[in-house]
Amino acid sequence: MTAKTTILNLTDEEFVHPGNRACSGCGLSIIYRTALKALGRDTILVVPPSCLTVLQGLYPVAATQLPSLNVTFASTAAAATGVLGALRAQGREKTTVAAWAGDGGTADIGLQALSGACERGENFIFFCYDNEAYMNTGVQRSGTTPQHVLTTTTPISGKPQKKKDVPAIMAAHGLDYIATASAAYPIDLYDKTIKAKTFTGPRYLHIHTPCPAGWGFLPQMTVKIGRLAVETGLFDLYEIENGRFRLTGQSAKMLGKKRLPVGDYFKTQSRFKALTDAHIEEIQQDVDRKWNAYENNDSPR
């Protein structure tokens, strides 16, 4: 992957219209705009109900310049399969099929269809924009909500369970290309999307996507908070390419260096208000263990 991509390398062409229905400070706006530039015009999108459904606009107005199929919540990867089947039948195989689902549509209700499509080796790129709860319905806990986080269905004590590791589940399917990315590092996402396009078969990108309304921070802090998640070692940027794991971008730069304490991230968002000092200490130890494994070139995966 070239490390030289800058904002100037990105096409001027916009596939997402400004003035769409995203909230101010929406992390999804950043990644959707950027990744679509990498995907290019010859792309068909598949979208389950999620914040993106709203961002894309209300009939008869559409915010996206690419053809987009809205599908039922559980069926994203199966619908992508169907688009691919028709494209094969019609000899239109050059068109890229990209699915865009939130964390609920990926890790929870969408997981069966995603697993089936990955097992079949369907030729799509699946983007999971992970804002760590059901934001479109009003911040209910999801499988990828981190432990102790306050949501409207874990309103007092926070979520008892830990975050589901979806990229690891995808890795267990033997995908040729898996990457994580963050809304705070859009060029990294751009490069990974370009790289994903060079593979065939199912490809999976898991994107940490800060959400001001759901996480409890001011809209101008989106990028700052996304960076803090990476800089504290809580969310790591990496690729799993043909089974080989490697840290990338900012996370790779942090190898051998001191990380920011996880508490620096937690104190920026009201969703972490239920965390006790003991919780924070426990999470810090988990993060340290994970990074020790990285340092010893011993991937936790």
Partner: protein
């Protein structure tokens, strides 16, 4: 050319000759031999189609919805709980106006588990916006698959082809396979008005507001209610379309001609047994027996359940003395759904027959000829009256 094969294979040959391009399916008894046959035809290179073995029925219909949206002719098949698992996708396919064809190999639904035949699976999905056609034998299964694609693509509404599990799906009967040229004449290639295309991008199935709304050019676009109203009116119109297609099919292939009601000894009968699926053919023997006893009775098989051919029913039966509706399904807490629909259709007429309702064959309970004959002997009397609750045949309480 005539061949002797199972009902499931008859359906598979219908799909092959309809040249479906994308097939997705998940195995469920008694549908499985149909999809096995399709996978074999594709694997052997005898059929140029994408066969996608999905991980659930929900995904099977998702594949068809997406492939149809992308402009290909699609097919799937299921039974019983598989159909129920598709429920949200059934509504979605109809709302999105996609001409998907699906065989429903009718089976009872759990709990408790049953794999045997009744009609509760399809009847419980009657309000999903799908057209439901019912076949009575193997030839009708094959023919109805072809008609279903033609109808679906003419009116942009998905179609279920329903036939009885085991009774038709797993029995062997002779049926004719037409020439491909004749089939292509009857069923031209699928040519959708729009489909997923980067050169002409559209956002399909977008969130739609309660009220109408102008687009960016200032032209008024329909709201949710207008879109749903159109589905309903187009479904009503599809009765006429089905009638025309049936005529054309008969002209080309020399079979059929009964789009709504297939009668047997009905025209001169005082009383008529009404039912759907293979039971209407089984009842023909019973009718012959009762005729020999001097009872003036015939049997009518309903070929389409949704849209409901209410006018055809009212016109055909309002002057009769009595209708006896036999059903392998039930609207729990009320009565047979077909029974209620038929009474509703007859309400438009001032002169109308009594209507009685028998529930039978649930979960594959054996339907005995003697029981059918007894039910008709008891019902086909001037003293009979319309009932508001069903009676049960073969119940051992």
């Amino acid at each position: 050319m005539h061949i002797i094969e199972s009902g499931n294979v008859a359906a598979a040959f219908g799909v092959k000759m309809a040249e479906a391009a994308v097939i997705a399916a998940y195995p469920i008894t008694p549908q499985t031999p149909l999809t096995e046959k399709l996978s074999e035809l594709v694997d052997a290179g005898e059929m140029d189609a994408q066969y996608i073995p999905v991980e659930s029925e929900h995904s099977a219909l998702a594949v068809c919805i997406a492939a149809s949206s992308a402009g290909s002719r699609t097919f799937t098949a299921t039974s019983a709980n598989g159909l129920l698992y598709m429920n949200e996708q059934l509504h979605w396919a109809a709302g999105a106006r996609l001409p998907i064809v699906m065989c429903v190999v009718n089976r009872g639904i759990g709990a408790p588990w049953t794999v045997w035949n009744d009609h509760q699976d399809a009847i419980s999905q009657r309000d999903t916006g799908w057209i439901q056609l019912y076949a009575c034998d193997h030839q009708q299964i094959f023919d109805t698959v072809l008609k279903a694609f033609r109808l679906a693509e003419t009116v942009s509404i998905p179609v279920m082809v329903c036939y009885d599990g085991y009774i038709l799906s797993h029995t062997y009967m002779p049926f004719a396979l037409p020439d491909m040229e004749a089939v292509r004449k009857f069923l031209p290639p699928f040519a959708p008005a729009y489909f997923l295309d980067p050169a002409r991008p559209k956002n399909l199935n977008t969130v739609t507001l309660p009220d109408i709304r102008p687009d960016i050019r200032g032209e008024t676009a329909p709201g949710y209610m207008e879109i749903r109203h159109n589905l309903h009116t187009d479904m009503r119109k599809s009765l006429d379309v089905l009638s025309d297609i049936e005529k054309e099919f008969k002209d080309i292939f020399g079979r059929g001609g009964y789009p709504f009601i297939e009668p047997y000894r009905v025209s001169d009968a005082d009383y008529v047994a009404v039912c759907m699926g293979s039971l209407s053919y089984h009842l023909r023997d019973v009718i012959d027996t009762l005729r020999a006893e001097g009872i003036s009775v015939g049997v009518a098989g309903l070929r389409v359940y949704r849209p409901f051919p209410d006018r055809a029913i009212a016109d055909a039966f309002s002057h009769k003395k009595g209708l006896i509706v036999f059903e392998k399904a039930l609207s729990y807490g009320n009565q047979g759904a077909l029974f209620a629909d038929i009474k509703s259709a007859l309400y438009a007429k001032t002169d109308r027959p009594f209507v009685r309702n028998y529930i039978l064959g649930l979960g594959g309970r054996e339907i005995k000829t003697t029981e059918l004959a007894d039910a008709l002997r008891n019902s086909c009397k001037p003293s009979s009256a319309t009932t508001d609750r069903p009676e049960w045949i073969g119940l051992k309480m």
